[in-house]
């Protein structure tokens, strides 16, 4: 791919919308989000900018592909079905998305029962609001499922390992906090792209698109954006852990060759190790994570899915 020290992302294909995207920045929100996902107390601004870049590019590409799918169907809006269709290949991530949609439905059902005003509003807006996301997902997967494996996901109760790991990490992180820090942590955890829906829409430059996503599709996009950030942090933490040369590790001399290229030749690997000890995730970790994630290795690499045509694999789907 790219082996220059400069960020590969900035040279990646970016739509003209990116210039307007520059004025809207989620960097501060991303810093908060990364903290809640396992990064240090004050994530680096450069890392946040890089993550924003990555997420933005990925979402724009995803939107373009979804628009194409929707055009194939002859529809005028991007619906959640289009996004589900794009995700059909990766079962685990699709299942995570479905679980998220169900929890959303369930939560609105419960909250509706608590506040009488909510109950009235719901009745007024039409009686078919309960479990609407679940119905959409079920109907759609029903229609495209050939082998029955997609529908089997609805009954699947397997533990989602990635989610489990994130929960454990959060638990470890919060165990040592005092209540003031914990309150702050909880506030960061509540940040999401769906809370800033209009800013999110502008950031993706939806208004200039021909085919726009509808409300539920926007919810899914916000979720996918958050999931991308979460994946990036997961992978970056793994990379950082790898970089630390542990005493007695038999492969410490075999650090990936491409990794070294991200640093000036003057720096020694020992200095890399020192840098890796600092708390926050560095941009180099992120870059390395993405490189490894989309690296075409293995016997089937020529046949990997077409989503990689832009040179970057989708992290969220």
């Amino acid at each position: 791919m790219n082996n220059t020290a400069a960020s590969p992302m900035s040279t990646a294909t970016s739509s003209s919308g990116r210039n307007t995207g520059k004025s809207i920045s989620f960097a501060t929100e991303l810093q908060s989000m990364m903290y809640s996902l396992g990064d240090a107390r004050r994530p680096l601004h450069e890392t946040a900018v890089l993550v924003e870049d990555v997420v933005h590019t990925q979402l724009i590409n995803l939107l373009q592909q979804a628009a194409e799918v929707s055009q194939l169907r002859g529809a005028r809006v991007i619906t959640p079905e289009d996004l589900l269709f794009l995700m059909r290949k990766d079962k685990k991530k699709l299942r995570r998305l479905l679980k998220y949609m169900f929890i959303r439905d369930y939560k609105s059902k419960i909250v509706k029962g608590i506040d009488e005003d909510d109950l009235l509003e719901d009745k007024l807006s039409g009686s078919n609001n309960t479990n609407k996301r679940q119905k959409i997902a079920q109907d759609f997967l029903n229609s495209i499922d050939q082998t029955g494996e997609l529908l089997a996901m609805f009954e699947d109760d397997e533990v989602d390992e990635v989610k489990q790991e994130r929960m454990e990490r959060a638990e470890r992180q919060t165990r040592i906090m005092d209540s003031a820090q914990y309150a702050e942590f909880c506030e960061s955890r509540q940040l999401s792209f769906s809370k800033k829906a209009s800013k999110f829409r502008d950031w993706l430059d939806c208004s200039s698109m021909e085919i726009k996503p509808n409300v539920v599709a926007m919810e899914i996009l916000a979720y996918l954006a958050y999931e991308t950030v979460a994946q990036l942090v997961d992978l970056a933490l793994l990379v950082r852990q790898d970089m630390v040369t542990k005493a007695g590790d038999p492969f410490s001399h075999a650090i990936s060759a491409t990794f070294i290229q991200y640093h000036n030749s003057a720096e020694s690997t020992a200095a890399c190790g020192v840098e890796a000890h600092s708390d926050a995730i560095q941009p180099c970790h992120i870059r390395e994570a993405i490189r490894r994630y989309s690296h075409k290795i293995g016997p089937l690499s020529p046949f990997t899915n077409a989503y990689r045509r832009n040179g970057m694999a989708f992290l969220a789907c």
Partner: protein
Amino acid sequence: MASAPRPERVPRLLAGCLPPPPPPPTVGLLSMEQEETYLELYLDQCAAQDDLAPPRSPLFNPVVPYGMYILNASNPDTAFNSNPEVKETSGDFSSVDLSFLPDEVTQENKDQPVISSRHETEENSESQSPQSRLPLPSEQDIGLGLNSSSLSNSHSQLHPGDTDSVQPSPEKPNSDSLSLASITPMTPMTPVSECCGIVPQLQNIVSTVNLACKLDLKKIALHAKNAEYNPKRFAAVIMRIREPRTTALIFSSGKMVCTGAKSEEQSRLAARKYARVVQKLGFPARFLDFKIQNMVGSCDVRFPIRLEGLVLTHQQFSSYEPELFPGLIYRMVKPRIVLLIFVSGKVVLTGAKERSEIYEAFENIYPILKGFKKA
């Protein structure tokens, strides 16, 4: 203020122990004296069970209320089932004559300003989650319970539990365990919370009743005050009354949903008022199958809770997605209640058909929450 006791408030088992109440021509609330008697009896059994139950380790769920709640669960059904016929006949009378209403009205007047100001402070104190409009209780809630003794007796008639709940004092310790099985109040007015003095307060009750006659919604909307009807949006009349502050959805089939009341009695009273309004408009409304569909309670454990730990150890019951909703959703199996647990320590309980379920659910969750107290 003495009014005839309602038949369904006297369980058949209890009837053997107390002097039988006179058959009521009208339906009314229990008098103060009788409610206090029930209260004392209940507290006595709880005190007796206190002596019987060994000191409980905080890890185990409280055992005490189970037996009673199970009994309660079965009793109300049997007692209520026998009611429709009783209610029918007395219902006809009572729907014609709600002469006791004016008394209730003046008492509600005194309560409403307090309760509505509490609503406002609740809404103002919700800074964390602007999108969820849950009526999270503020400190005033518990304070209201404590201070209700300073309010008139009328308030305590409706919420007798509040004054006594904080200091449950068994006054007659000589009741023995035999009386436990025989004396079971329909709805325990005060649960004895052994681990804490915190009692969940009811925030909202949703009930349904069948007026058993076809209604002309347009006519109702035109002639009734505080009625909205927009057939294009929704096929029901939305009516509101101020005391008790509730909202009703009235359908043309005669079915009605009443929401917003703060206790079972208020919900029933409000439903009767709506039925009265409909009746005054010329429809032969009755009052059949009044049923409480959902009860919502809330309380505050007064310490911050580490939700990440809770969701990890109780995975099969809880789901916590802070980017979606700031609270942890805990689905308790027994009793079947959904609890919303927030970091601040506020707990909202919903999905109950009876008051005892809310109390029981809170008793179950409290030791668990204590285990995840954020120091």
